[in-house]
């Protein structure tokens, strides 16, 4: 009995000190450590992936490094280093809430239910879900997947939509993109569904890009935002100002061009309405 009381006391003390840590704001934490820790992907070209030279790079990472990091450095008055950690759909919210990372910068769709748990930045990219199939496949879009074996990424919004809209499609969920693509290559599945831009990235990086084709109308709307811990408006403000300044100064479009331009990793021209939408998110100084 005495031991039990002792254990309970230890647990109480531990939770109390943990609570004290939680009380620290993200900007205070960044100032104390001198680092901004982001959660990002290793296999989602061109947003975040490990390239041929073994460098961890991508559009999302560039956005953080070139537009958000300078704003944060200025705010805390000291140079801040960027640290990257691997995050995946099932782990990104726990990574944030447990303080392991401060910002999720990858391909996370902003949704209403996710906003119950985390806060989102401005939308920095907008796409929709499509299908990647072998050339000549009977799958032409969401209307033709009934009874077919479809791969999706576990914990993604696409998987959820397929399950609700086409319940008789045989949905197989994989924890990451490489495993899902492997299953598609080998025929375990007949199509892989994900956000169109990611499929374009996967196709561009495949050993034989011409064997694959991205099909179907967008069957969902996927606005990407950067996620952070809830109710920390100073940090959120810094992130949003970084993005707004980048869009306003044109730096955003330079970075866009580097990754999605005609000579970029995944050519994907910016639609005029998307550009307009990005610009309209910028509020006056």
């Amino acid at each position: 009995m005495r031991r039990l009381v002792f254990c309970l006391a230890v647990i109480c003390v531990m939770t109390r000190s943990a609570a004290a840590l939680w009380a620290e704001t993200t900007l205070e934490k960044i100032e104390r450590n001198g680092t901004l820790t982001i959660g990002t992907r290793t296999g989602s070209p061109p947003f975040a992936y490990v390239n041929k030279n073994n460098d961890w790079v991508g559009f999302s990472i560039d956005l953080v490094e070139k537009s958000i990091l300078p704003v944060i450095s200025k705010k805390v008055n000291k140079p801040i280093k960027l640290e990257k950690k691997e995050s995946a759909p099932p782990t990104r919210i726990p990574l944030l809430t447990s303080n392991a990372v401060d910002l999720i910068a990858e391909t996370m769709t902003d949704t209403q239910s996710r906003r119950d748990s985390v806060d989102f930045s401005l939308t920095f990219f907008a796409t929709g879900a499509q299908f990647l199939v072998k050339k000549g496949s009977p799958v032409k879009g969401i209307q033709s997947i009934a009874g077919k074996r479809i791969a999706a990424q576990q914990g993604s919004t696409n998987a959820r939509i397929i399950r609700d809209r086409v319940p008789n499609a045989k949905l197989l969920e994989f924890p990451d993109q490489p495993a899902a693509f492997q299953a598609l290559t080998q025929g375990q599945v007949q199509a892989y569904t994900n956000d169109g831009i990611q499929l374009a990235g996967l196709k561009a990086k495949a050993p034989k890009p011409d064997d694959w084709i991205v099909v179907g109308e967008f069957y969902s709307y996927e606005p990407y935002g950067m996620a952070m811990r809830k109710n920390d408006s100073d940090f959120r403000q810094a992130v949003n100002i970084g993005l707004m300044e980048a869009i306003e100064s044109g730096k955003y479009f330079e970075i866009y061009d580097k990754w999605f331009g005609p000579k970029g990793e995944v050519p994907y021209p910016l639609a005029p309405e998307t550009k307009r939408f990005l610009q309209m998110q910028v509020v006056p100084k």
């Binding site: 099932p90 239910s113 576990q154 914990g155």
Partner: protein
């Protein structure tokens, strides 16, 4: 900035159904894999002690090869590397019928079979050699001596380590989510996807695994007491469970 717990996500919507489905899949997967592992373990464990060198070599190769490669690699091996070796029509037939479950089952069973084998070998080796000689001198052939005397005694001696391995197998079944098997851990992640409440979902999963393992441990402790051979294995004290 603290996290707001909302436990109601576990009983509203489809969460309950998903957890139940996940639990059933985990149990099916673990049970089938366990049967395979025990069968492989008994055969290979017995062969490792057999007085015929080539049989010993074969089972030593099996044990060392399968237990020294990570389980995750075996999952990928059975799911990605084996099907392309089959004819295409058979592949499609398999893919339509959830081959990921069977791949997971094989991976788990063959991997843990190698580990069971070592437990069974140590059980056999703990039996005095005279027991074996006595069996042979009554006129039993070598296979008969193994089947009727040595293996039954060994199985009764090794219940504690076998319990340990069985619990490991049950928990390792969660690795199957990497090849898309919708078992318990997979379903807790699914709840997280729909509700964005990760801690609640993980807690539910943890509790289910804990209850499952404690139940199995309690049952095995009873079995251990019932089948213990007096004098050969220490009786567990009454009231321990």
């Amino acid at each position: 900035m603290s996290y707001h717990f909302d436990w109601s996500v576990l009983w509203t919507g489809q969460s309950g159904t998903w957890l139940l489905q996940g639990l059933i899949t985990t149990l099916e997967l673990s049970l089938l894999a366990w049967l395979l592992a025990v069968a492989l373990g008994i055969i290979s464990g017995a062969l490792r002690t057999a007085p015929i060198p080539p049989l010993r070599w074969i089972s030593t190769f099996y044990v060392e090869f399968f237990r020294n490669v990570p389980l995750l690699v075996w999952m990928f091996f059975w799911y990605f590397a084996i099907p392309p070796l089959l004819p295409e029509s058979l592949q499609n037939w398999l893919f339509d019928r959830g081959v990921e479950f069977w791949a997971g089952c094989f991976a788990l069973g063959v991997y843990h079979g190698a580990r069971f084998s070592e437990v069974i070998r140590s059980g056999i080796q703990s039996i005095p050699k005279t027991q074996f000689e006595a069996a042979l001198s009554t006129g039993l052939t070598l296979p008969q001596a193994y089947r009727l005397i040595i293996v039954p005694i060994a199985l009764r001696l090794i219940i504690p380590p076998i319990t340990n391995e069985s619990l490991n197998l049950l928990k390792n079944s969660s690795v199957a989510l990497t090849i898309g098997v919708a078992e318990l851990t997979f379903q807790t992640r699914q709840i997280e996807t729909y509700t964005a409440k990760a801690f609640e979902a993980l807690t539910a999963g943890t509790l289910i695994y804990l209850i499952l393992c404690l139940t199995i441990a309690a049952i095995m402790a009873r079995v251990e007491r019932r089948v213990a051979i007096p004098g050969m294995i220490a009786q567990s004290r009454a009231g321990e469970f």
